[in-house]
Amino acid sequence: MSAGLELAGVGKTFPGGARVLEGIDLSVAPGEFVCVAGASGSGKSTLLNLVAGLLEPTGGTVTWDGRPVTGPGPDRGLVCQTGELFPWRTVAANVAFGLELLRISRAERARRVRWYLEEVGLTAYADALPGSLSGGQRQRVAIARALACEPHVLLLDEPFGALDVQTKEDMQIFLRQVWRDTGTTVVMVTHDVEEAVFLAGRVVVLASDPGRVAADLPVDLPAERDLAVRRTPEFLALRTEVEDLVRLHHTAHTARRPG
């Protein structure tokens, strides 16, 4: 039994009969950064919800360190595209939410919240309400809030999908840094191939209808990455390869649709 996250033969068919995922085999070692790329309809988000425990697979098993996932919990924090902060809580109180449920002392909670606010660069906004933050700042709070629970794995569902290009680049560099600082395992779903290759140590490409693993590619780029790495031949070659795979499986998917 391997350490880390293990999906074995995972399938998901919704009650209406829609077969979204089938026969997914995927293992993620502790500390890895894996991006799942795929066109819309490949069941990327469903895959993440299965790992989060928000959905139950209709086939196969999802395990962490050999123990099956039975429901959502703070060991698998999820951040979605809209972040979903608590709008009535200040930034600091948002980050503190998971810690409040763990019954640790107020002083310890405050210390940890301070650390994560510092890590995501929002110390100055500790007392602000989410409504007054920009989209990128809100996503930083959502990531800090999930990380404060020290999850085994951080699940990111298109976390930067709603941001403008410049903010998105800042957030990508920020996320790489946070990953290296905290050593958290990250599984991120995105349709943005450039983002996937830039961030991940491994890119998994999903085919559509039903979603299944089409390719699993290691990213052999330096651990220290800045935006310039995107112009290197190695990066471009890998990006092209992944883009072709995503497009291939997307075309196959649309070609099979009637009309």
Partner: protein, 293 residues
């Protein structure tokens, strides 16, 4: 006939791919959709806004003054503002206005409070749990169409002529609407927010206390604000029948003696108290819901 090359670029592009015989689209001179007073949501100046607000009260008052002092309307049907003021002063000095107001306000606080105690938990349950919604929505959806006023004879038979039948009218008139409105406010809590909370370790109890309730609270207060107006209407209606105190009772009694000036005075008092209640709940809502956009 001109050659294609002499045409302007747009028309030249049209010559290709079989669109040559399409007529020019009519171009209307600037359709002023954002100008004029009929343009939807167009801002008005603060001066215009305050003038219109003042006129909203002053025009009806002026019509009232003009009609009642013209001598063409019998003062028994339409008292003058001065006579209404005198009637108000008379009732205020004798103290009956205050005891009547206190009696009505007390009934509203008790009856509406009771309705809130029933409807907020019920509506909260309906908005939170699908099983509660399935079990309660059909019956409440039906019962809310029964007018509370129609229950008055039945309630007098069941509960007698005392306070309890009047409170019951209030509760019946408010409780069903408020339940459905609270349920709607609770249902607006985003599913994604609940899911995010679950992945932070929230159990069902935590979701109810720390996520659903705070998110829905401003909406619950809004529902209460709307229905407090209904409660205030209903207490006056309840007092029209077999009461010995209250503003509704004062209206019936004045009507019996053709004291229309007193009826007018009581109606104005009812309106003012209603506005004060509304403003109070609005302030409370703005304070609690500061975070809402």
């Amino acid at each position: 006939m001109s050659t294609v090359d002499e045409l302007p670029p747009a028309a030249r592009a049209r010559e290709t791919r079989g669109r040559a015989d399409w007529p020019e689209l009519p171009r209307h001179p600037a359709r002023r959709a954002r100008a004029g007073w009929l343009a939807p949501r167009r801002e008005i100046s603060p001066a215009a806004r305050w003038t219109l607000r003042a006129l909203s009260l002053l025009v009806p008052l002026a019509v009232w003054v003009a009609l009642s002092t013209s001598g063409r309307v019998d003062p028994t049907f339409l008292p003058t503002p001065a006579a209404t003021w005198d009637a108000w002063w008379e009732m205020a000095r004798s103290g009956e206005l205050w005891t009547d107001t206190a009696a009505s306000v007390r009934r509203v606080l008790l009856g509406f409070g009771l309705a809130l105690l029933i409807s907020v938990p019920l509506g909260f349950a309906m908005g939170t749990w699908r099983w509660a919604l399935a079990a309660l929505e059909p019956i409440i959806g039906l019962v809310r169409y029964w007018p509370a006023g129609a229950f008055i004879p039945l309630l007098i038979i069941w509960l007698g002529l005392g306070e309890s039948s009047k409170l019951a009218v209030l509760v019946i008139g408010v409780v069903f609407f408020n339940t459905l409105m609270v349920a709607e406010a609770v249902r607006r809590v985003p599913q994604r927010l609940l899911e995010a909370s679950m992945t932070l370790g929230a159990t069902p109890g935590v979701l109810v206390r720390k996520v659903i309730f705070p998110y829905a609270l401003p909406g619950i207060i809004d529902a209460a604000r709307v229905n407090s107006a209904a409660a205030w209407n209903l207490v006056v209606i309840a007092e029209l029948f077999a009461a010995t105190s209250g503003l509704g009772y004062r209206i019936v009694r004045s009507g019996r003696f053709l004291q229309t000036d007193r009826i007018f005075a009581v109606l104005i008092v009812i309106g003012v108290i209603g506005i004060l209640m509304d403003v109070g709940l609005r302030l409370l809502r703005d304070r609690i819901g500061r975070w809402t956009p």
